[in-house]
């Protein structure tokens, strides 16, 4: 895929991330006092709320896509070569998908799992 397509992804996720990360930081420490924000009950209610949970999932995907693509760019600037480039491209894609999967699992389990 063309590099300009990767950069469009980078820009789109960047703009989305600015909004979502700001919202996340505000929700975790400014609009809600920090101590309360990380209490079990509060966290549970956030995951169980459809909109809040969905926002967290979108935040997850956007930040991971942006961050790992950025890491790919840094690694490609650091070293060049056909094997290195192929390796980095695939490794970054896999790690991104794997981390998104793991985080999504947290979101789904929290929203639907049995409380213990």
């Amino acid at each position: 895929m063309r590099e300009s397509a990767m950069m469009q992804l980078q820009y789109v996720t960047a703009v989305l991330a600015i909004g979502l990360v700001t919202l996340h930081l505000l929700m975790q420490g400014v609009l809600v006092p920090y101590g309360e924000a990380i209490s079990f009950q509060r966290v549970l209610s956030v995951y169980r709320n459809a909109i809040d949970g969905a926002l967290l999932e979108v935040l997850l995907i956007v930040v991971l896509a942006h961050g790992f693509n950025g890491l790919r760019i840094i690694l490609l600037e650091w070293r060049q070569g056909a094997a290195w480039t192929r390796g980095v491209d695939w490794a970054v894609l896999l790690v991104t998908l794997a981390t998104i999967a793991y985080g999504t699992r947290t979101v789904i389990l929290a929203a639907t799992g049995q409380v213990s």
Binding site: Y47, G67, T106, L109, G113, Q114
Partner: protein, 110 residues
């Protein structure tokens, strides 16, 4: 980023958990709610706020909202692209990130 996703997953009992668990979450909080954990969070806020505002500055400068138009160079041959208002936005980014980090530090340690 990865660390945060990892540690928040203990809300549901970690990689091998099955659902929200107060016990697992308490142990996760016990492990991260300490001086080192707070320092890490403050640094994250510092870096993320700086990266975000600087990023906005770059997008504005590169894609034309704050922009210089090509002209004929003349003495003393100073580059126009570096002299628009975008220079000062770097300071906005630095100051905002320091303020955000101080606020976070205050909230976490105070």
């Amino acid at each position: 980023m990865v660390g945060h996703i990892g540690d928040t997953s203990f809300f549901v009992g970690g990689p091998f958990g099955e659902g929200p668990s107060t016990a697992s979450w308490s142990s996760d909080l016990a492990a991260t709610e300490n001086v080192l954990g707070h320092v890490v969070l403050v640094m994250v806020v510092l870096v993320v706020v700086y990266h975000g505002i600087n990023g906005m500055r770059l997008i504005l400068a590169e894609y034309g909202v704050i922009f210089a138009k090509p002209t004929k160079p003349d003495y003393p041959y100073r580059a126009k692209s570096l002299r628009t208002i975008q220079r000062h936005l770097i300071w906005v980014a630095i100051i905002a990130s320091i303020l955000a980090a101080l606020y976070t530090g205050g909230t976490l340690f105070g």
